[in-house]
Amino acid sequence: MIAIFFKRILLAIPVLFAVASITFFLIKIAPGGPFDADKAVSPQVLKNLNEAYNLDASNWEQYVDYMTGLIQGDLGPSFRFPGRSVSEMIATGLPVTFELAFYAILIALVMGVFLGVLAALKRNTFLDFIPMAIAMIGICVPSFLMGPLLVLIFGLNLELLPVSGWNQLPGDKILPSLTLGFAYAAYIARLSRGGMLEVLNQDFIRTARAKGLAERIIVIKHAMQGGLIPVVSFLGPAIAGLLAGSFVVETIFQIPGLGRFYVEAAFNRDYTMILGTTIFFSAMIVFFNLLSDLAALWMNPRSRDV
């Protein structure tokens, strides 16, 4: 298993290097520079700006420069917000996005596993159909519709919860976390139901029942370990989805997180910011995929000794 771990890490490094290089050159061929703003800038100012940001060097020089900085964790200055570096901006946005993603995944896991296991245990009854219907709603109502609907109902009509912001009013974290978590709760519910159904039919469960173990222990100790492997493998890719979801949720609820920074950078053509966040997101996703693969591997006894 340790060998697999190192093999995967060794593979991840060239991948991230390729991502960084491709993104860098994609941005170089983009039409329009970062300073082609609405206000025309005098040629002299433009020249100075280009000099200050090293934009008059050859592409190759800039690339080598950027990559050298990247290895040292320096993602360069932001083109739109003078005086702030991309690394700094990521550092401000990241905790917010992490917290949001953490609550969302917590909601998704608790709701999803509970409903999925319940549905599997009470198969083909009322308690199976209702959770699965809810899960179908979660899959078919996209976050960019779910968020505004929750705002409309709980924020504007019932006036129970704040409609936007983060860490400013009590309860303002509830709606964004729910919006982001709901779709994943739905997927997790379906996955855990499927996984549990498969495990519950197996011989070792029958043995456990024949031994006279309490149903609670059979489910929690024996069935869930195997039945939830699909959920654990799903968590890695789900992190990638959560990041994308954070673009929408942070935009709807005006949360100052990384997702909103990225969307704003895309609109502002803040190239260094786009480049930096793309590389950063990729690194995070590669890392979480690795983590969830390893966890799934570890949970599956068949692959433990390999």
Binding site: L11, V15, V19, T23, L26, I27, I29, A30, P31, M136, I139, C140, V141, P142, F144, L145, P148, L149, V151, L152, L156, G194, L197, E198, P237, A240, L243, A244, F247, V248, T251, I252, Y262, V263, A266, F267, R269, I274, T277, T278, F281, S282, I285, V286, N289
Partner: protein, 283 residues
């Protein structure tokens, strides 16, 4: 039943699945409405009645009008054209790439296979949504680019499914017989392999369409997808959100349309999967 071929069996099972049939019916109606939009829409999608402004549903405008006095029903009908077009075309792009990739990798096998599938593994781990946004920013918001970009993202799972199927077929007698007769690789793919894996391809394609439509809606919602005055359901929802405090119908009707469509696609896709592969239907 006399004719017990895979497809006639599947159609029989599908016709017994009420949710799937309802889904299929809704889809057919939607496609007809989208195609006929210029003739059945009560107004043009860009016709503005500025005196009217945003008005709630009435007998003149069945679903009300937006802030520029444009008829919402007409805009939803025209939006269906774009949203469904993106759904089908981008899925088609994903299908072509994924199926060819999977067939080649699975059939040739060996080193070629391991390199091709390693590429898929690597691409799986990358944040593609970010690359789509990047492409839309760099090259401008162009409908064809959107098709290509979304299609280029969604082919990975298809490649894996097809490869698995082809490996299963590769050592069967009819393939070996064809090889012995000296059939070229290309006609092997077309005549012998492809027809045998149409089932899983059809299922996965049906389930890819809603994913693609979600992605388009997502991009349009962020303002990076379809540009006005053209409208997709994603842009209509975006406009609806901006004015939902006063004019909630502008959010609710496009939202309902979008959700019903996704429901229909998912139910139909699930039904098709169960019909073609009865083993999975219990899960």
């Amino acid at each position: 039943m006399k004719n017990n071929s895979l497809w006639s069996d599947a159609i029989y099972r599908l016709s017994r699945n009420r949710a799937a049939m309802l889904g299929g019916f809704i889809l057919v109606m939607l496609v007809i409405c989208a195609i006929l939009a210029p003739w059945i829409a009560p107004y043009s999608y860009s016709f503005q009645d500025l005196n009217l402004g945003a008005s709630p549903p009435s007998s003149e405008h069945l679903l009300g009008t937006d802030i520029l006095g444009r008829d919402l029903l007409s805009r939803i009908l025209y939006g269906a054209r774009i949203s469904l077009l993106v759904g089908f075309v981008a899925t088609g792009v994903a299908l072509v790439i994924g199926v060819s990739w999977g067939i080649v990798a699975g059939y040739i096998g060996g080193r070629v296979d391991s390199i091709m599938m390693r590429i898929v593994d690597v691409l799986y781990g990358l944040p593609f949504i970010i690359f789509i946004i990047l492409l839309m920013v760099i090259f401008g918001r162009n409908l064809w680019l959107l098709f290509g970009a979304i299609g280029a993202v969604e082919w990975l799972t298809m490649a894996r499914i097809v490869r698995g199927q082809v490996i299963g077929l590769k050592n069967q007698e009819f393939v070996l017989a064809a090889q012995a007769m000296g059939v070229s690789n290309l006609s092997m793919f077309r005549r012998h392999l492809l027809p045998n894996i149409l089932g899983p391809i059809a299922v996965y394609a049906t389930l890819t369409i809603p994913q693609v439509m979600l992605l388009e809606g997502f991009l349009s919602f962020l303002g990076l997808g379809i540009q006005p005055p053209m409208s997709s359901w994603g842009t209509l929802i975006k406009d609806g959100v901006e004015s939902m405090e006063e004019y909630s119908w502008l959010l609710i009707y496009p939202g309902i349309t979008f959700t019903i469509t996704l429901f229909a696609l998912n139910f139909f896709g699930d039904g098709l999967r169960d019909a073609l592969d009865p083993k999975t239907s219990d899960n």
